[in-house]
Amino acid sequence: MSEERKPGFNTLAIHAGAQPDPSTGARVTPIYQTTSFVFDDADHAAALFNLETFGNIYTRIMNPTQAVLEERLAALEGGTAALAVASGHAAQAVVFHTLLEPGDEFIAGRQLYGGSINQFSQAFAKCGWTVKWADTTDAESFRAALTPKTKAIFVESIANPGGIITDIASISAVAKEAGVPLIVDNTLATPYLMRPIEHGADIIVHSLTKFLGGHGNSIGGAIVDCGTFDWMASGRYPSLSAPSPSYHGIKLAETFGNFAFAIACRVLGLRDLGPAISPFNAFLILTGIETLPLRMQRHCDNALEVAEWLRGHDKVAWVNYAGLPDNPFHALAERYCPKGAGGVFTFGLKGGYDAGIALVSNVQLFSHLANIGDTRSLIIHPASTTHRQLSDEQRERAGAGADVVRLSIGLESVEDIIADLDQALAAV
């Protein structure tokens, strides 16, 4: 492959990180279903534990199947390195564990997946990390939330439960002024639709469970290091810039340059907290990623058709999908994700909460479950499920009010998707 030409996205989706197995010639990445790895000799073992050389020790910390997935994700996002972990929640926990000390604050856009809202307001509070909420649609609200204790800013690129496209560049400007890294959850978009690094993201997180894995079979998460934040110059993140008490005083940012953050997440957070991804899950997710470009485009194309059809339905009060031309976020969608606005969106039923419950009970082809980003079309009523633990006000602010139904449009023939909604709505 000529080095002057950069490989296309579709090529990276299949090949990045993978080469035939050197000992057997196996073309597809083997599933290294092993907990441990034999050292070449005692010196090699010591060098591995000291981070002096690259290699495999123990699947809680690294695994060759997982490594292919990590390099694949880094390549697709345009980052320097990545770390795969057990779940999207784990990815977020490891990121913040690496960045924050007790007493620190971070700012998060409040239009978020309900699980992230719970994690930030409940679990992180227990660690002494305080979330300050801002309005994802208003960069000034992030600026207003800054304090001397702010250490990071967090947003979703396309916000769950759907409809909001984040103006990442404007929030990145706030992060850069404040000298803090910008973390972007790119789960709903995937790098096929949008690459947050191009708009100022420093760290990207994913729930691999969703569109990247794409087949609803494996829980997984990932952290991608964009390699853009100068940890040494900042000096406010001791895990990166101070002598590491875990590794004989090396400064990770000095030793590992522009992939130090991913390394720190692995050798500190993952090592000590332990949310490791299963090699088998990594393999399934990797296989799913090979068809990411095809799948994402079909998700978007189907979703647009379904959204347009719903908008004309007399039982539907509103449809919130940025792919629709009159949606308030349509202009941002054309700028940030011109190929499509994603596969997830919400709509409101005129019959309110009870109509929502009835609808999810009536569908035959749609699966009523808590997930997004499957080949199968999925439906859920967030107010009674994923966002149930929030207050009414939090729910409304998160776009999960009483009448809201969330769809994750799959890859079925679009006529069948629409027919199922048609018959289910008829009985509402």
């Binding site: 492959m1 080095e3 002057e4 490989p7 090529t11 990276l12 090949h15 990045a16 990180g17 080469q19 035939p20 197995d21 050197p22 000992s23 010639g25 073309r27 790895f37 034999v38 050292f39 070449d40 000799d41 090699h44 060098a47 981070l51 002096e52 050389t53 690259f54 290699g55 495999n56 690294m62 060759p64 997982q66 490594a67 292919v68 990590e70 390099e71 880094a74 390549a75 980052g79 320097t80 390195a81 990545a82 770390l83 795969a84 002598p243 590794y247 004989h248 005083g249 090396i250 000095e254 030793t255 340059g257 992939f259 991913a262 390394i263 692995r266």
Partner: protein, 174 residues
């Protein structure tokens, strides 16, 4: 050439063809990045000669330390600079004087004047790179750490001579 980026072929050629490295600014402190790089390169079979006036006459990782490049008796092929960008110019002049083939400056070290000087004297120059990271990237080892090696290949990686957890650089002949 512009030193904002290097092709993989340029870096690979340097690391495959040149096996004797003088590391200027080598530190006896095992926590320093120079110590990491030196240990790794020695394990990959490179001859690494540490240069550090503060430790001349002693050893680092078993290798005798010299005060200056000019004091080294053997032929040096790569001068690897672990000093700051300002110091790189004087070191580059010494590298030219001792007949080295390559001036290599570490991560964060870049001196375009030194680069021009070296290139006009017929030397190759690499700046703001670590040979350990580049070797790891091009051999495939760094991929075990989830790092984007930017290598796309359907060729089998080459195993190291001893043990399964080692890779070696693929030369043009492979």
């Amino acid at each position: 050439m512009t030193h904002d980026s290097y092709t993989d072929a340029y870096i690979r050629d340097i690391l495959v063809r040149h096996r004797v490295i003088a590391m200027v600014g080598a530190s006896p402190n095992p926590s320093r990045p120079s110590s990491f790089a030196m240990k790794y390169l020695l394990a990959k079979g490179y001859r690494v000669v540490p240069v550090n006036p503060g430790h001349a006459g002693k050893t680092i990782l078993g290798q005798p330390v010299f005060a200056r490049l000019g004091d080294i008796g053997e032929k040096i092929e790569i001068v690897d600079i672990f000093r700051n960008s300002e110091a790189a110019l004087a070191i580059t002049r010494e590298a030219i004087a001792i007949g080295a083939s390559v001036v290599w400056m570490q991560l964060g070290v870049r001196n375009d004047e030194a680069a021009r000087l070296a290139e006009s004297a017929g030397l190759k120059v690499v700046m703001n790179r670590c040979p350990k990271i580049e070797y790891g990237r091009l051999s495939g080892e760094i991929s075990w750490a989830g790092v984007n090696s930017r290598v796309l290949s359907s060729k089998r990686p080459i195993l190291g001579a001893k043990g399964g957890q080692q890779r070696v650089l693929r030369s043009d002949a492979d």
